[in-house]
Assembly symmetry: C2
Homo-oligomer: 497 residues x 2
């Protein structure tokens, strides 16, 4: 029987973290690069994880009164300009559609060329985000306070012409959701922006088992066009921070740019208050980098497409049949409890190959069953995060698996939380700042004078940026770690993805 | 209290079917045109129906072993050319990305222009369908028979630069799913193509309550690049046919165009066999046109986002409170049975306004509760398709609603089936063909000599095309309705969307 070559070992995280990540994404069959520069193919296993993320987030959005809708992929240049006035800082690197027809190239048989006669009067931008197209639509929908609030979310693809791309973390095209809401009052909009950031945090911690710090962005890290940007920040195993989600209080900026007014309860015209918020396939990168190890992916059970894999150990059909009876019974019982199980009885791969494969793919629990297990009414059960194996009586398998999944979900979170907390370092001098950043990494909690100039200087000289001004940090007087000027509270700096 | 203007009556179907459709789509809040030529905004209510369609189809795809994945939005022109050789007939009207950056227009402050220095070396086509990008990827995935079958589906947006567009039925950008599978043998691929067409038919009949005829396309109606195209065809209320889904047996055409070979079990290299299949937001148009009436949308319960709406009739807070207790009890009990219920207690709209609104939006069942109903322990229940109202004791509401929803689902299908069957006319002369087509419309079942020339002549002279060669039609000798040449079986002609 032909045998697939055993996958080579991953580069270790210590040796080259970045290489480890790139290899892992490809070898675990999550995604790969495509024929289009900067665009990725999300493979079925990676997409199945994304689908689980989508399903949970979508439930949370709907439970808070949001509805899904769909807006056009393209933004006419003129709408982009209207927004641009409002958001000068927004990058202009984007995919631009200028023509609408190909034709046969007379000079090169079998080749096609752009038909110069099919030039668009106005260029179309492939959406990098949808504020412009959505607010030009909301203008038609909103006349009075009774048309508010509008609480809409969109699941979509967006394109930003990034020069340096990495699978999931930064790609030219990526998948995301973008919420766009319209409100009568400032208070409502602020509440909404904070609420959605809280939902992102809850999702990250409960499902991704990834601890996050909630906070506000500084002015220079804020979304251009936002009055305030709320965010959740996570820490990866290499000591770099990753912005996992943002929620923007947009004030009346977009309403003014697109002239969206409503008659309030007093009959007066006022501009609408707005928010927008989004998370993307970047979360896949965060998930991978938070838990995985040198053997491959480690998935929190709550997002694992396959929670339990059963591998039969056998020689010949008779043994396989015996093992299969037990395996299928266990599979059925686990599925009745809502646990997703794969029984891998492929005949052309050896158990050792399968063990490696599921380790690489981060399946939380592996059950192996051989003829001796049948004799002793037991199975071997292995947990992906700890790699600990144990023998369990068949009768106890369902309870053990249930508990183990819950325990693993919690344990992954706790482990990531300890690591994160150990890697928040308080510093009070710029020398310490640089030392900690270069030797230890992680978040640096330091006083900052609040000026963009100081922030810019620190960024230029250390590559660290202000990740967020955490909600939970107390107001306390201090002196800026760089300028020595007065500071009101500490903020979190880090190098970031 | 400000009162919203009552929506004007829809144009009736008899007066102007096309206008009726356009008005209905907009007034029922399903979709509207956007600032981008030919692209639509799918509004929350329309999108909620699409989401229900997606959920059911996705379940059916997964139950037959398919997985979802995601491939890039863009297709490099060179890949498009490789496919083009294979599929000369494919339209070249598509959106073409030529540049990747905007810059400030020095001559027009506040305006942007395309940066001429940011011209792409190779133009990118916004995918009109993904065979090219997917098969260039499969080439990397497939070496041996053990890598087969590949059973992948993608939910995505696609763009075709249509000149004449109509909401849902034909738009420049639309949402769809596209399945792309790769197989070892011809038999497997043919089985897959037929299976997916059967799944489309089952979905159309079971969920959309829309009867369809399954069949093969004639050569000239076939997808360019396919060996055989299977399809489902439905009949709209204006006597025009609508192609609701297609499934293509692609033979080895794409494997050859993209050089995808595999080592078979005998160790020999062979080209892979392929299928592709898709349905789109066009199904929304089909759903609307199959059941709706002059009062608005009629939705089959299986796809209705709101299956039951409860409207309180009251004066003053005390009456509202009394009614709300009963209404909320009913709502809870129905929801326990998995029925989706909306209790519309908005205070700034009158009951009559609400009745019209939900009639327009096609909510299957409306329950009205007033103070007199409270006295008599009853409610008024109205069924959207028949518009019949009846009084029901509160204690019987849950059973009545359950039965009524099931009955309505069946009745909508039966009604559409009768209409469809009454509008299949057998004709045996070209004169009858023309008469029936112009006076009655619908499907015409006629003998055809099998030649593309005859088909083309009939199309030119009558605007009718061969919709399909039905599976279930018996092989029977006859003479072609146009040429008088021998024919093997009848086929179905119609004017079509």
């Amino acid at each position: 029987m032909p045998k697939k070559k055993m996958a080579e070992k991953l580069t270790s995280r210590n040796k080259d973290y970045s290489k480890w990540y790139n290899e892992l994404v490809v070898k675990a069959n999550l995604a790969e690069t495509s024929a289009v520069r900067g665009c990725m193919v999300i493979k079925p296993y990676g997409y199945a994880i994304w689908e689980k993320m989508q399903a949970e987030l979508d439930k949370m959005f709907k439970a808070t009164g949001h509805e899904n809708a769909y807006f056009p992929l393209f933004v006419p240049k003129s709408l982009f300009e209207a927004e641009e006035k409002n958001a000068e800082g927004f990058a202009k690197e984007c995919a631009i559609v200028t023509h609408y027809r190909l034709k046969n190239d007379e000079d090169n048989p079998g080749k096609l060329k752009v038909d110069p006669e099919a030039k668009l009067e106005e260029e179309l931008i492939v959406r990098p985000t949808s504020e412009a197209i959505i607010w030009s639509t909301y203008k038609k929908w909103i006349q009075s306070y009774r048309d508010l609030p509008i609480l809409i979310n969109q699941w979509a693809n967006v394109v930003r012409w990034e020069m340096r791309t990495r699978l999931f973390l930064r790609t030219a095209e990526f998948l995301w959701q973008e919420g766009h809401t319209a409100h009568e009052t400032k208070e409502e909009a602020v509440f909404e922006a904070k609420q959605m950031n809280d939902i992102y945090a809850e999702f990250a911690e409960k499902f991704m088992a990834m601890p996050v710090i909630k906070g506000l962005k500084s002015e220079s890290e804020r979304f251009a066009g936002a009055v305030d940007t709320y965010c959740i920040e996570a820490l990866m195993q290499d000591g770099k921070a990753l912005q996992a989600g943002t929620s923007h209080f947009l004030g009346q900026n977009f309403a003014k740019a697109f002239d969206v007014k409503f008659a309030n309860k007093e009959g007066e015209l006022d501009h609408v208050w707005a928010t927008s918020w989004g998370v993307s396939t970047r979360l896949m990168g965060a998930l991978i980098m938070t838990h995985s190890d040198d053997n491959g992916l480690v998935l929190p059970p709550n997002l694992a497409p396959i929670q339990v894999v059963i591998v039969p150990i056998y020689r010949g059909d008779e043994e396989l049949n015996q093992v299969s009876i037990v395996a299928n019974n266990i599979k059925n019982e686990l599925e009745l409890k809502g646990i997703s199980v794969k029984y891998d009885n492929r005949d052309n791969f050896k158990p050792g190959y399968k063990f490696n494969e599921y380790e690489l793919k981060g399946v939380p629990i592996r059950i192996a069953i051989g003829p001796r297990d049948i004799q002793s009414n037991s199975v071997e059960i292995a947990r992906r995060d700890t790699l600990v194996k144990s023998k369990i009586k068949v009768i106890k398998v369902v309870d053990t698996v249930k508990n183990m999944l819950a325990e693993m979900q919690k344990s992954l979170f706790d482990k990531a939380l300890s690591y994160r907390n150990e890697n928040i370092t308080l510093v009070d001098s710029f020398e310490d700042f640089q030392n900690v950043l270069n030797k230890k990494g992680g978040f640096i909690s330091a006083h900052w004078d609040g000026s963009p100039q100081t922030e810019e200087f620190i960024k230029k000289n250390t590559k660290a940026t202000i990740r967020c001004i955490p909600y939970h940090y107390k107001q306390e007087g201090g002196v800026c770690v760089y300028s020595g000027k007065p500071s009101k509270q500490r903020v979190l700096f880090a190098k970031a993805y």
